[in-house]
Symmetry: C2
Subunit: 370 residues, 2 copies
């Protein structure tokens, strides 16, 4: 196996295993869609053309994965700047490598018109309220996740877990505070200009309300979620636990939001040597956040990988924008790209995925005109 | 491979392929839970301790598969005679062979406390009303089934599809009428004494109401379901279509209810050579029904197999009763037993499964006393 078998997968931290440890012939992708009212705070997220659309984004992303268009909204989710959802990358990568996927609804506000796995929980609250997720829902999300992970962990050799939850980097900042990891100025953003001050202020208010001191809940990560997190976190953590418990491997597909899941898994005392994080190079290269640093401060074992999709070369402005720091990742875009490269033994590379993404984009444009 | 590798799998019809065609290393079981108001007609089903409990049976079966006990009712589902749900066989077989499973909710009246795939459809009506399933739900069930089947068909080498829907043999009789297959006195029953006359009368009334002549809808099977079927049928047919479309194999795990699904697949013009039916020897041996004959009248290609679980040898009366014609099959009991034998290359046989079932039964008794 040549050292350059996967030239477009970069190791971005000091984790102690190489990408070949996560080689896969039969990956499965699960996208967890969710919601937190924290995303309704003005200026916190770009996941939606405007504030009214943010709550539709997770359902629309899930529909886009299946249909290549959305049912709950007229167009695909876009940022206020007009950049498309990263689901366009995910759909391209999954299709290229023929990777199966499922969607889990863990408290999304709008339900997608697809067959989805229901965790039967409510959306998360604004974390400034002092109650982020009802405790009963945190437990249910984790338990159901574990049940699902135990089953589906037997049906794949790599479980790739992504998310669509607007506002999720702010709840990440909150949960990491409770778990004793300083994430200020380290979390990522779907915006080119990361609203760190706003996030810090929101989390400061939330901490004042919930009275959770730094690191106070490091041994009780599910309580940290209940106070300062969102419903995606215990869901993805639960699925991960289930997969690991049956001897499977987990690729957490996302940017800094997945650092929160990683910290939860670490706090639960799980063995981390079968877990990695996979994102896009656009998160890895982002100067306004620090995924590699966050991961290292959580675990020295866990490697973080980034897919280079060469989007700077795209003639399509909405895609080229990813390379300039817009959107960057989400809906498991980076992780599924890595899985596609792995499953194809490197035959699929960043250029090939970019071509597929551009074709998806053309389909979207075409669909719009119909 | 010895001819007697699977001594407890019997071929019960003239299908043109042997069980080795359905060999599997990575099967996946999906149990579709559903409901039809037809089951509320007195005397039609034994799936529930009494009429009030029938609607809980599908959810309780699904919960039993995950937990080994039920949450929506205090005990496991039993017949009025006190015989346990066939889910006890399913759970035993799945556990022995470490076969992963998922539950799909396709219009059950009570929702189980588990992570389930939601098809977002309503329960079926009493077929005597002239509308068995809303047309929009028939289409949705089939479409969502197909979407799910296309994904999960890539994650297994054999898709095993079971059901829990009380009253389902009566709707089977109805749908087969519309599709031009005479199933009178051929459908099975969860009761030892098959209420054929009652079923025939109900279907007669339903036909009078819906005005569907024999074979009238043989080219429109989804419409046949809308007039005379139940929500399980298009769901399982859709999943099957999806699995077949990605090159997978399907084992329809059930008795005569699966003949309705088979007839739908045949009417849709699907290639049947990757489909088989798997049940228990107790359905196959039943003199009051004729699964083999039904299957042959639908397709000469499709083999039907039966698992011999030697339940006549069980010292537990509720299990020994299966061999005397009570319950017989359901919740994919026979099909998952066959899958367990196949996955283990014959190491798991009927005796070993019976032992696991008896252990499940002891756990249930133990649970009851807690």
């Amino acid at each position: 196996m040549s050292r350059n078998q996967y030239p477009d997968i970069r190791t971005i931290n000091q984790g102690n295993s190489s990408i070949t440890r996560f080689s896969t012939k039969s990956p499965l992708f699960i996208c967890v869609i969710s919601y937190t009212d924290t995303s309704a705070i003005p200026g916190i997220t770009a996941a939606g053309a405007n504030r009214d659309f943010v709550k539709y984004t997770p359902a629309a992303d899930a529909e886009f994965l299946y249909y290549g268009f959305c049912k709950c909204i007229d167009k695909v989710p876009i940022t206020p700047d007009g950049n498309p959802t990263p689901a366009i990358i995910t759909r391209g990568a999954l299709g290229l490598a023929d990777i199966p996927f499922l969607v889990v609804d863990a408290g999304s506000k709008i339900k997608p018109s697809i067959p989805y796995v229901s965790f039967g929980i409510d959306p998360g609250h604004n974390i400034e309220s002092g109650v982020a997720v009802e405790s009963i829902d945190v437990k249910k999300a984790f338990d159901y996740g574990r049940m699902l992970g135990r089953q589906l962990g037997k049906s794949c050799d790599l479980m790739v877990l992504g998310e669509s939850i607007p506002g999720g980097t702010t709840t990440t900042l909150g949960v990491l505070h409770a778990l004793g990891i300083d994430a200020k100025y380290k979390v990522s953003s779907s915006m080119q200009t990361n609203p760190h001050r706003l996030k810090n202020t929101i989390v400061k208010h939330s901490i004042q309300k919930s009275r959770i001191s730094f690191g106070e809940l490091r041994n009780n990560p599910l309580e940290a979620v209940a106070f300062l997190g969102d419903p995606m976190m215990p869901s993805v953590a639960g699925i991960s636990e289930g997969v690991l418990s049956v001897g499977g491997k987990v690729l957490l597909a996302g940017g800094t939001q997945m650092a929160a899941v990683l910290a939860i898994l670490k706090s639960l005392g799980l063995k981390m040597n079968e877990v990695c994080i996979g994102t896009t190079i656009y998160v890895a290269n982002d100067n306004s956040s620090n995924l590699a640093g966050l991961v290292s401060s959580i675990s020295t074992e866990v490697p973080a990988f980034a897919a280079d999709l060469h989007m700077e070369k795209s003639p399509i402005p909405g895609l080229e924008a990813f390379a300039r720091g817009f959107v960057k990742d989400g809906v498991g875009a980076g992780g599924t790209s890595i899985a596609a490269m792995l499953k194809s033994d490197g035959r699929i590379n960043g250029d090939i995925i970019l071509k597929a993404i551009e074709e998806e984009y053309e389909c979207v444009l075409h669909g719009k005109s119909r």
